[in-house]
């Protein structure tokens, strides 16, 4: 990774930052933010187009593999970005080792749960359930 590697030479050699992984976190936050722009513009259009559809039509739209692919990418990029962003907020405001570790872990659990639940829903809809 040459582009987007903001670390100093020493930092690269050691592979650790002050927070062990800060540069990578920063980079992934930007990459997902960048990816989010076209993905979520598509998504807003999709949601708008759903407002006059009934259950069967909406189900059919979300069963289309192309839509599933894009919605999966939206959820992947969006939820990962969200997880990274919330981590920064927690690191800024939550102090005290035990509490902080607990909330940081909770953030990971929530993000993974949301990702897994939506993936399961998409697969079920696509397979006609």
């Amino acid at each position: 990774m040459t582009h987007g590697d903001f670390r100093t030479e020493l930092g690269k050699a050691r592979g650790l930052g002050a927070a062990r992984s800060g540069a990578r976190h920063f980079w992934l936050q930007r990459v997902t933010a960048f990816a989010n722009v076209p993905l979520f513009i598509f998504f807003i259009g999709l949601i708008i187009s759903l407002s006059d559809k009934d259950y069967a039509q909406i189900h059919a739209i979300f069963a289309n593999p192309f839509i599933v692919l894009i919605v999966a990418l939206i959820l992947l990029s969006g939820i990962y970005h969200m997880k990274l962003g919330m981590q920064v907020i927690i690191e800024d405001y939550v102090h005290g080792n035990g509490w902080r570790v607990f909330i940081l872990a909770l953030n990971i659990f929530c993000s993974v749960f949301l990702a897994a639940a939506s993936a399961l829903a998409l697969v079920k809809i696509m397979l006609g359930g």
């Binding site: 930007r30 933010a33 960048f34 989010n36 722009v37 979520f40 807003i44 949601i47 708008i48 187009s49 759903l50 407002s51 006059d52 259950y55 909406i58 189900h59 979300f62 969006g78 939820i79 969200m82 962003g85 919330m86 907020i89 929530c110 949301l114 639940a117 939506s118 399961l120 829903a121 998409l122 079920k124 809809i125 359930g129």
Partner: protein
Amino acid sequence: MAVATPPVEEKIQPYRPSSPRPKSPHVTIYRWPITMAMSIAHRATGAALYAGTVLLVIYLAALAMGEQSFHYVQAVYQSLIGQFILFLYSLAFVYHMVGGIRHLFWDVRPGLMEKHCATKTAWATIGISLIVTIFIWFVACTFF
């Protein structure tokens, strides 16, 4: 022979002045510049979008669970309070997206962070977010 004990970590004491000493002005005494309010709003909307994602996943899960649960969720989302929350969600979303693009420009052109320029783009972000959000609801309500 005594076993070497590991060094005791020195406890860092919080700073507690014993006498009131002059302090430099802290953020609370300033009138908020728009750029500062924007920065806070970007964070607040980021956190709000976390909750929005939960709404989104509930919607998808309900769709997967069948017609009955979907209609139930749809009824809640289409109620007055539901629509109000969805409106705020969309506003937070568009604001965070436009502000996020502003952030990404800063990453490649740090010069844009200069105070007068940042103040202009701050107002532009607010204006664009409002227009885009209202446009989205206008299109959704009139054409669909």
